[in-house]
């Protein structure tokens, strides 16, 4: 019996199967159908007849479905509201996530290795990001940064960061394009307030325009006038706190160098670590007009101060410096021709001073712009290595997923859905790796800050721009690393799985081999590179200075008149200590080079020849204390009063520059230097008194008892703390007003290579991470593969293979790969380290042994990573594996 309602309900049910129809559409169609039926009924047709007629007119299910699909959306329009849609998608996502987590949990080892590897990669990139960010932010705090330039003097093609005192004021007078200028002259004063003392290493005489040009943050005082009057000093917060505690220092008088007093007129916030110009105090330059010799203000060739200019708005610096030729011709060149000297002025932009300036004698730390791309490259490389691990482990472990894939495919999963699932899992792993990295970076940051010589801040990472990049990185790494395995796995045919054809060991093997080779090649390059950098650094910081023998302590005495006067008494008191061999007072000690003096020496033909040479003022004990070898002539003698003003000792290099070969011919020749004249009495063998980046420069030494700034104490001790404590006691008895400001010569010299040492420290860190990633990957692959070759191993053992044969079988291929890596890496290391070593005038040969050693180490580490699983597999009872089948 026909029931109209049942028929309509059945029709509605069938129409609901069409996914392109929404609920409203169905309601509408129902209304339409019922209207039609009602009309037909009213015409007197039977219910069954009416129904059939109506559904014929409305159309078949598929026809309607397609119409909705084609005309309306052109694709399947999912039923339900947006909210319902999102909910459905979310459900699927949660489902994928759940399965993802379960997979991670089930394959704990694999997931752990993946996450650890990626964490190592992300840590590297985070550290590098923080480091590079810090480097790039140097000197960025000055509002007028793009108009601030340093005036540099180019002598014989070498740019010097320093210039003459006259430079600034004369430029300011001659060029309206220059709005303002400031001069800075380095000081190391002893400051004293009541009984509190501090010796500053970074104090500067500065023009009052300082704060008009630079935006150093003022805490108290008037920035416009604080450096105007003579005898005024501006302290940093730390310096102020050191001397005054919490009291207000403004207006107080400080005793400077135990000689004169300065009024505190301002307090600045401590110098940013991101400044090419470190400072602890500024003293008004007007003060120094009374305190420095008059020559300094007039002499164009006394270029020991720093000049910064502020250009007016919209002034083109290169156009401006093009006009310097006339300026030089007017002011500098005539005097230069007279004296046989010449240099050119140039402008260097503030933003270049830290990273991109090669100028000699910079006022503070300089970075190395060329290293930034190197670091970024290393970071990306390491992250790439971590990604390789993921790809490798995923393809190697695919066999464990094939059953899942088979079942999913059979149940109707499309290959796109499977790819999605796998990609989601890899992004999930990437995210986990990143979170672990974040934790690791947070914990290791103080350590890394120390070895990088920076104060890196974790908070930088929380910058939204950073977070955005990071998020992108996580997704990109996840997708990139997961893409190959995801596509390969998703393409596996369900049928072949059912047939037992598994994409196991074989699938992706070539890719895997290539990736492992690259991983280890990179690791070997980094390790060998690091070792060679370290070799070179230990070469230059050890015996290479040409100074041998005992430990030398250097006490900084500044320009302290009281010590100058009591010098012989203090030396005597120190000499009385049994551990002290000798004591010498000098203006400089190796590692510093303050004075560069115009030196005139007669050559063989009797003509007076002008050259620049470094100048050390020393006493009679300098040569023996530093074990300097006299190749000709004699040391200064205390028994010859004429030596005090009229004798000079030069180094071999200087002898060469003045055209004496052999150097002994220079003995007895006349010299003029800084208003003194006399004869050369000795020639010493070259020793490296500056950084070994540079060749040894000409050096001259004269006796001058008023120019001493260092006391060098040569001693031998078995108990340094005790010896130092004893020396300090002696010091405070004789020099109560000045702290015992002492450093080992070794440390002083090492600080010349701070940038290299930091570079090598960071390299070690990255090399370590690269090796870690590589071995994690190998470890994982080895355990997976020996698991997959379970049966094979069992059969081999049953047929009589020994443990060692099996271990060799399992490790042979990998070790061959590592050797290939070595072959790829060695020439790269050779090339890169050779070009790096070019930076040093004194350098080691690129050591083949180190490179070979790194390859051996890599092989050893690789073998260690795989030996565990190889041995486990080889040792098992063959019965187990065969029964396993």
């Amino acid at each position: 019996m026909f029931n109209l309602e049942t028929a309509v309900a059945t029709w509605l049910h069938s129409i609901k199967m069409e996914r392109s129809l929404k609920e409203d559409d169905i309601l509408e169609l129902e209304d339409h159908l019922r209207n039609h039926i009602e009309e037909l009924l009213s015409e007197g047709r039977t219910p069954e007849d009416s129904f059939r007629e109506a559904i014929k007119r409305i159309g078949g299910r598929l026809e309607i479905g397609h119409a909705y699909q084609d005309i309306f959306w052109n694709k399947v329009h999912h039923r339900g509201s947006l909210q319902a849609e999102l909910k459905a998608r979310w459900t699927i996502l949660v489902h994928y996530l759940k399965i993802g987590f379960r997979n991670l949990k089930r394959q704990r080892l694999l997931a752990g290795l993946n996450i650890l590897g990626l964490a190592a990669g992300f840590s590297a990139i985070l550290f590098i990001g923080l480091y590079v960010d810090d480097e790039l932010k140097f000197d960025a705090m000055h509002e007028k940064a793009d108009r601030i330039y340093r005036v540099e003097a180019i002598w014989d093609g070498d740019p010097f960061a320093s210039s003459a005192m006259r430079t600034g004021p004369t430029l300011l007078r001659d060029f309206p394009q220059i709005e303002s200028m400031v001069r800075l002259y380095h000081q190391e004063p002893l400051l004293q307030f009541d009984d509190r003392k501090v010796i500053l290493k970074q104090a500067w005489y500065a023009d009052s325009s300082l704060l008009n040009i630079f935006d150093f943050e003022v805490i108290s005082g008037d920035s416009r006038t604080m450096l105007s009057r003579p005898g005024t000093i501006v302290l940093t917060e730390s310096t102020a706190r050191h001397l005054f505690g919490e009291n207000n220092p403004l207006g107080e008088q400080i005793l400077v160098d135990n000689a004169w007093s300065a009024e505190v007129t301002g307090v600045l916030k401590d110098a940013s670590l991101r400044s090419h110009l470190p400072f602890e105090a500024f003293i008004s330059l007007t003060t120094s007009e009374q305190r420095l010799p008059g020559d300094i203000w007039r002499d164009w060739f006394w270029t020991e101060s720093y000049t910064y200019v502020l250009l007016a708005e919209n002034v083109d610096a290169s156009a401006l410096s093009a006009n310097f030729t006339d300026f030089e011709e007017e002011h500098i060149d005539p005097i230069g021709r007279e004296q046989g000297m010449q240099y050119d002025l140039s402008l260097e932009k503030l933003s270049n001073l830290y990273l991109h300036s090669d100028a000699l004698v910079p006022p503070g730390p300089t970075g190395n712009g060329g290293r930034i791309p190197v670091f970024v490259g290393i970071g990306i490389l390491i992250l790439l290595l971590a990604g390789f691990n993921f790809t490798n482990l995923a393809t190697a472990s695919s066999i464990t997923r094939t059953k899942e894939i088979g079942v999913r495919k059979t149940m109707g999963a499309a290959s796109g859905q499977l790819t999605g699932q796998f990609l989601l899992e890899s992004v999930l792993t990437s995210l986990s790796g990143f979170l672990v990295a974040l934790l690791a970076v947070r914990m290791a940051l103080p350590f890394v800050s120390r070895i990088a010589g920076k104060q890196l801040s974790f908070d930088e990472l929380l910058d939204p721009a950073y977070l955005f990049v990071i998020l992108g990185l996580i997704v990109v790494v996840g997708l990139a690393a997961g893409l190959f395995p995801a596509v390969v796995l998703a393409r596996v045919k369900a049928v072949s799985i059912m047939k037992g054809v598994l994409p196991g060991v074989g699938s992706g093997k070539t890719l895997r081999s290539v990736l492992i080779t690259i991983q280890f090649a990179v690791a070997i390059v980094l390790v060998a590179g690091t070792l060679i950098v370290k070799d070179q650094l230990s070469f230059i910081s050890s015996a290479s200075l040409g100074i041998t023998g005992e430990t030398i302590l250097v006490v900084d005495i500044g320009e302290d008149g009281d010590i100058q006067n009591a010098r012989e008494r203090i030396k005597g008191a120190l000499m009385a200590d049994p551990d002290v061999f000798s004591v010498t007072a000098s203006s400089d000690s190796p590692g510093t080079n303050r004075n560069s003096a115009r030196t005139v020496v007669e050559n063989d033909a009797g003509e007076m020849k002008v050259q620049f040479s470094k100048l050390y003022f020393v006493d009679h004990d300098f040569v023996p204390t530093y074990d300097l070898e006299l190749v000709a002539g004699r040391n200064f003698s205390i028994d010859r009063p004429a030596d005090t003003d009229g004798a000079m000792i030069i180094n071999e290099r200087a002898a060469m520059v003045f055209e004496y070969d052999p150097p002994s011919e220079a003995i007895g020749k006349r010299f003029f230097q800084w208003g003194k004249e006399g004869v050369i009495v000795g020639v010493i063998k070259d020793f490296n008194f500056t950084s070994l980046h540079d060749r040894v420069r000409p050096l001259s030494m004269r006796v001058d008892q008023t120019e001493n700034r260092h006391l060098s104490i040569k001693l031998r001790s078995d108990n340094w703390p005790e010896t130092l404590a004893r020396l300090e006691t002696i010091w405070s008895e004789h020099v109560p007003h000045r702290p015992f400001d002492v450093r080992f010569l070794d440390d002083r010299l090492e600080s010349l290579y701070a940038s290299e040492i930091r570079f090598s420290n960071l390299l070690s860190l990255f090399a370590g991470l690269a090796i870690l990633i590589g071995s994690l990957g190998l470890f994982g692959i080895a355990s997976l593969i020996s698991g997959q070759r379970f049966r094979e191993i069992g059969i081999r053992k049953a047929l009589g293979a020994s443990i060692s044969e099996i271990v060799i079988l399992l490790s042979k291929e990998t070790l061959v790969l590592i050797l290939i890596s070595g072959a790829i890496a060695a020439p790269l290391v050779w090339t890169y380290t050779s070009s790096w070593l070019e930076n040093f005038a004194y350098r080691i040969e690129v050591p083949w042994l180190t490179i070979v050693g790194s390859v051996v180490v890599a092989v050893a580490i690789a073998w260690l990573s795989i030996s565990h699983s190889a041995l486990t597999a080889a040792r098992m009872n063959p019965v187990d594996s065969i029964r396993n089948e």
């Binding site: 559409d25 209304d31 339409h32 159309g59 909705y68």
Partner: protein
């Protein structure tokens, strides 16, 4: 009304024109079209609804849910101002085609000759 492409092209102006007569609902619109075409329409009614929805999406018509005389939920459609404009444009175009064809086919016009 047999050609499929002609059907596809004409269904929009037809729907808009029907709704221009006043607010209506799906069944009534279809009935009106059947009536006017003397039952010559070949489409299944169900396939016309997506066309209505498409027009709605293009904001040429608006819809609201109401009740039928018997209390069933029913969706009513009406022409929007935009729809009226679109209809005017369509109308002008169709009229152009119409007059062209009408003139071509009227006996007073010379048959088209091909140049020799």
């Amino acid at each position: 009304m047999s050609s499929k492409s002609l059907t596809a092209a004409s269904v929009r102006p037809i729907m808009l024109s029907v709704l221009a007569e006043g607010e209506s609902y799906g069944y009534a619109v279809m009935q009106r079209i059947h009536l006017l075409s003397n039952g010559d329409v070949q489409w299944s009614d169900g396939t016309l609804y997506p066309v209505l929805h498409r027009l709605e999406l293009e904001k040429l018509i608006a819809s609201r849910w109401g009740k039928s005389e018997t209390g069933r939920k029913r969706k009513y459609y009406s022409l929007t101002a935009l729809g009226a404009k679109a209809l005017a444009v369509e109308r002008a175009e169709w009229m152009k085609v119409h007059s062209l064809l009408a003139r071509l086919w009227s006996p007073s016009v010379e048959p088209i000759t091909v140049n020799s």
